[in-house]
């Protein structure tokens, strides 16, 4: 059942709405449609995506979750709330932030019911998710670097979240990811409210990688089974590598130019292997050769060719 979480009038003849699809076991649908409530308490998962308008991998995840549930509705034993577009204007305009304010939606949580429009939207999303047994926020890196399917957990909640993260069929769990986990995010705010929340990162902004999507969807069904939301068959799960900040090597550009990778994403490199070159199209010279300072898995690799000093080229899990 598609519901409006919140709606807000834009200046010219349009309402901005954040929607969710509440998927219920068949036996409960009628009661919920008539009363808007359920007499019996069911376990509930909130599946959230589209906070960043340039990240689209979650669109496939939402589609595939809803599709698989519909095919085997008899196996659904709890509530699945799918929030496919927390920043609908961003998605529709191919921009990361909220186009009306230029603000990063994921720096506005937990929001404020008395605040500006963005804070009010954020507060409405938080209030709607509150009460869920679990929340999963699916991200897709950005348009610059490609990521393998991974869960990122902040230090504060890492111990509590690790057992859940291991269920998700991702390649990697990045613990204490201080460089990428921020306060004011949805995940941090929900965790502070006591709702276990994890962030999945995978793929590349502006693109959909179906095989990554399927892998994570398998993991989500596994998680739902453990939460008592699903009783169907589960695919065979893989075991993620668990890493902490100290085991992640950041490789950044030290020259400006065009980055040409020499390796494949999601492959292992040895110390000294060539990762790529930064070249100058003007005169046909190589400005920088980038080699692996340590061996390991290239879990992040730059896709967007134009680089300046400091641009992230790769991350290696050593």
């Amino acid at each position: 059942m598609v519901e409006k979480v919140v709606e807000m009038e834009l200046p010219v003849g349009e309402k901005l709405s954040i929607i969710k699809n509440r998927i219920l076991p068949d036996s409960c649908e009628k009661e919920y449609e008539e009363t808007g409530m359920l007499s019996k308490k069911l376990p509930r998962i909130a599946l959230v995506t589209g906070i960043h308008g340039d990240e689209l991998e979650g669109q496939y995840v939402c589609y595939e979750i809803a599709r698989r549930i519909r095919e085997q509705k008899e196996n659904l034993t709890g509530i699945v709330d799918v929030y496919p577009a927390i920043n609908p204007l961003g998605i529709e305009n191919a921009v990361r932030s909220i186009p009306t304010s230029d603000m990063d939606m994921n720096r506005n949580f937990p929001g404020d019911t008395e605040g500006d429009p963005t804070e009010q939207l954020a507060a409405a999303v938080v209030a709607d998710i509150a009460g869920a047994d679990f929340c999963l926020d699916v991200h897709a890196s950005d348009i610059f670097v490609k990521e393998i399917p991974q869960v990122r957990v902040s230090e504060e909640f890492s111990e509590r979240m690790l057992p859940y993260a291991e269920l998700l069929n991702v390649d990697m769990i990045w613990m204490n990811a201080t460089a990428t986990v921020h306060e004011s995010t949805l995940a941090h705010s929900m965790n502070l409210l006591g709702i276990p929340t994890m962030v999945v990162e995978m793929g590349l902004g502006g693109r959909i990688n179906k095989s990554y999507g399927n892998q994570v969807v398998d993991g989500i069904f596994n998680l739902m089974k453990k939460l008592g939301i699903w009783k169907g068959e589960i695919a065979i799960m893989q075991h993620p590598v668990v890493s902490t900040d100290g085991e992640v090597e950041f490789i950044r550009a030290e020259h400006v130019g065009i980055f040409l990778p020499a390796i494949e994403h999601n492959h292992y490199v040895r110390e000294g292997d060539l990762i790529g070159e930064i070249v100058n199209p003007v005169d046909g010279t190589v400005r920088e050769r980038i080699t692996a300072s340590r061996g390991g898995l290239i879990f992040t690799l730059r896709e967007y060719p134009v680089v300046t000093h400091g641009a992230l080229l790769a991350r290696i899990l050593v």
């Binding site: 834009l10 200046p11 010219v12 304010s101 400006v256 100058n280 300046t308 400091g310």
Partner: protein, 311 residues
Amino acid sequence: MYIKDLYTVESLYRENMVVKGYQFGKGDKAACIIGSLRGNELQQMYICSQLVRKLKELEANDCISSGKEILVVPVVNAYSMNVGKRFYGVEQTDLNRTFPGSSYGTSTARLTDAVLQQIKDYSYGIQFTSFYMQGEFVPHVRMMETGYQNTSLANLFGLPYVVVRKPKPIDTKTLNFNWQDEMTAAFSVYSNRSDEIDENAARQVVAAVLRFLTRMGILHYESHSGYISHVIKEEDLTDIHARKGGFFRPFVKAGEEVRYNQECAEIVDPYEGEILERIVAPTDGIIFFAHTNPLASENEILFRLIHRLHE
């Protein structure tokens, strides 16, 4: 005056972006003034340019105290200004949300780190900045409640208001917060608007900075003593929201006094021109902030009011 290059950003197809500092006097690092960090902070850069002109004149007349040094950085983010973007670089990051930065981090982090390293040793830091909402302010000095803030120093600018803001997590990434963290007494000075030049407001802010520098013993300059500032806490401001979306037709401006129930604005139907909503003042007070975009969404903050204050 001595011009120094604080940091150079190289790029593939654009001329290098050089962050320039204009140094006046020599000796103790007394005061540093920063203009635009965002590409739409035009008024902020303009004020700095006027300040540079004035300080040149004062230096020529020996009005800078001996052993005191002043640094003015009119613009950090000229690249964005030249293309009409607010944020920086290909990743479009907000410089004023990327402090303290890092010398081995992203392009933006390297820029903010380099700037902070060059300005952190000054005793007083003054930043001309803008608000994330498009609108018009009463000129004021804003301080973050970090525990180090000193509102009696902020009063010395002689601007009508000093606002103290409780930092949210996102504020810890601003220049103001990180400057204070480096033990610089940091002040954010808000002129009325960002995206257009207002000569009167610019003159008022230039005068306020010169007044402050004089009172701190950095300049010898005879200036009007200005206002005795009214100190307000940001959380005490009363927000007036729109309940409808449409055209915004304001009747009052920032700085004006309003009475309880006074009509401050209308929201007009964008198709038929009818009045959809009348916005009235919920209390007596002074308009501290006013929305300026001709369009408004539902829930938009149209005005922020200093509750029960009279002119």
